[in-house]
Amino acid sequence: MADRKAELERKKARLEQMRRERQEKVRQKASPAEGGDDTKSKPQKDLRSETDDLLRNLGIPEASTVQTVVTKSPSGGEEVVHTVKTSSRSKVKLSLCKVNETSIAPREQVSYSKETQTLNAEPVDKDGSRRRPSILVYDDPQRSDDEADTDSMDQGVDSLPSGMPQVKMVDPAKTAEDLVKKEEPPVVRELTEEEKELILNDPEFNTFISKTSRIMERALAENYDILIDYSGGDGENKEDDLLAGERLKLNRTFYDERWSRHRTVTSLDWSIQHPELLVASYNVNEDAPHDPDGIALIWNNKFKKTTPEYVFHCQSALMSTCFAKFHPNLVVGGTYSGQIVLWDNRVNKRTPIQRTPLSAAAHTHPVYCVNVVGTQNAHNLISVSTDGKMCSWSLDMLSQPQDSMELQHKQSKAVAVTSFCFLSGDVNNFVVGAEDCTVYTACRHGSKAGINEAFDGHQGPITAIDAHSVPGQIDFSPYFLTSSFDWTIKLWSIKDQKYIHSFEDNSDYVYGVEWSPIHPALFASVDGNGRLDLWHLNNETEVPTASTVIDGNVALNTCRWHQSGHHISVGDDMGKIHIYDVGEHLANPKSGEWSKFVHTIQELKQHAAEREDDSNLALR
């Protein structure tokens, strides 16, 4: 260090000497070319070159001065030449000195013509000081570096002639990297196939797979449901989610190209002796005038065959049909002409074996209702036509009715019966629905034979009527349902003149309604929109609990529960019969359903009473 200082001092002395000599020469020279500025810059430039050499000898690396030395302005070059010449003339002591050549790679100058802006807050340097503010404007590197050099050598920033923004401590290359790094997280690279192969063959990957797959297989094998709730309290919601689709599921469709095409299904009935047999009656096919007008088909639900078991014809369109309950081989049909026909499947004939006469003694109007009532030994076929005539027949002899009765309301008005139903377990009392929107109760025999009471409430002709018939501890037989063209279904009791409740969820004529044979609070309804609804009155009385729409834009004309209560058959106006499975949790009644239904009915009655009070108040 000491000799260095000594050397520096020696060099300083020499500099002084040289300076003095040059000044002398300037005075001596009478050269007009250079101005005042150049005199200043000349010694400066000389100084610079000299000091550069000196510094180089000392071994101090230059800070980006090499280039500047190369890229000197031409005027400066001239001056150097001059100064060199002058220096050689002045007999300066020149001594050979070791020149340590150090090659320094030029620092990369990355010049930007745009502004760069960092995404985050100002990054902190290593020494803790904040970096330059966000916007850095890079200018012409030559000039800025030149100024920077001279300034760093001699004075401070103040002597800058141009006043350009200084870029001193920023490392341009680094910012580029930063930007790239910040872009990476949002971009998800896709691995190429080769990369994937590489990884797959990596032994580390193999060990990872073998270890974790062991754990995973153990975890997979455990299949306990930690969320199981034994109290069943959550069962309701779970059912809704999981079994919503299974409440009503289409099982199969019965359709025969030859016979059921373009015919509306008018009625359905399941056989009691053979629960898989279903009889369906069909209306006339307008497109085929030569085909018989009335068709009855017996379908088999047990087997997969798509053709009916039996095909029965008759000359007039069939409006209703039923199995003769106590004769497994007989099928009864009521026609449009008023005839009642009887088929027997033991006989190999498609036409009826027995027919009622078309006379005034029997019916002359369409027969929409046929039913076999009674017991095994004492039963009758009851039929009601739309002229209000009710006849009872013996199945052995259809040539004349055993008993016939005119159903008249108030002595003169004949009732146009569209549907009827016997009350549960009763062979005498029944209810009928008529075209004049009224429901009537009636008796067959006894002192009150004929129409007894009239129930008003519907605003359209009644399409179907069904009485409650579920056996149980609590008897709900006074209650019956009616459906009508006025888009509603109403629940009545034969003891009250006013209906208990009106179900108004449909938006088309409701064509059929029927109680479930096993569940006291469940009933099904079909309407003209192709909708099949299941109403669970203990659950919800305003909307159906399950509902499905048949595809194909058809109207459903009739529905019939299977006696098991788990299937329901619906017939549409294109000749198709759809069998639906009802989910077990919905179809099977729980033990508390009966008492719950009592409460439901009481509630509904209360609402009805309130409604009536309100309407009475309004009238006043």
């Binding site: 990884i199 193999n206 990872f208 754990i215 997979l220 299949n223």
Partner: protein, 97 residues
């Protein structure tokens, strides 16, 4: 067939398994049995969640580490076994038997 393939196939054929995905440390799926869009979705989301879970475990106890992550939802169960560099994901539907 390589062992890796065999193992993954065995896992996939397990009862109720919907899909198997192997993800690397960056969240990029390496091997999958599901379709591309689902895989990318699962890989990105579960990877982030596993990272978060791991950092949580580590923060609570620096000497602890995440070994297994199991997410049980209404419809299925996602099991995630993280390794040092990779993560094995299996999506299973639990059968309510």
């Amino acid at each position: 067939m390589s062992e890796v393939e065999e193992t993954l196939k065995r896992i996939q054929s397990h009862r109720g398994v919907q899909g198997t995905i192997v993800v690397n440390s960056e969240g990029i799926p390496i091997r999958t049995t599901l379709d591309n869009s689902t895989t990318v979705q699962y890989a990105g989301l579960i990877h982030q969640l596993a990272q978060k879970a791991r950092s949580t475990v580590r923060e609570l106890d620096p000497q602890n580490d995440l070994t297994f992550l199991r997410i049980r939802s209404k419809k299925n169960e996602i099991m995630c076994a993280p390794g040092n560099e990779y993560i094995l994901l299996v999506i299973q539907t639990p059968d309510a038997s």
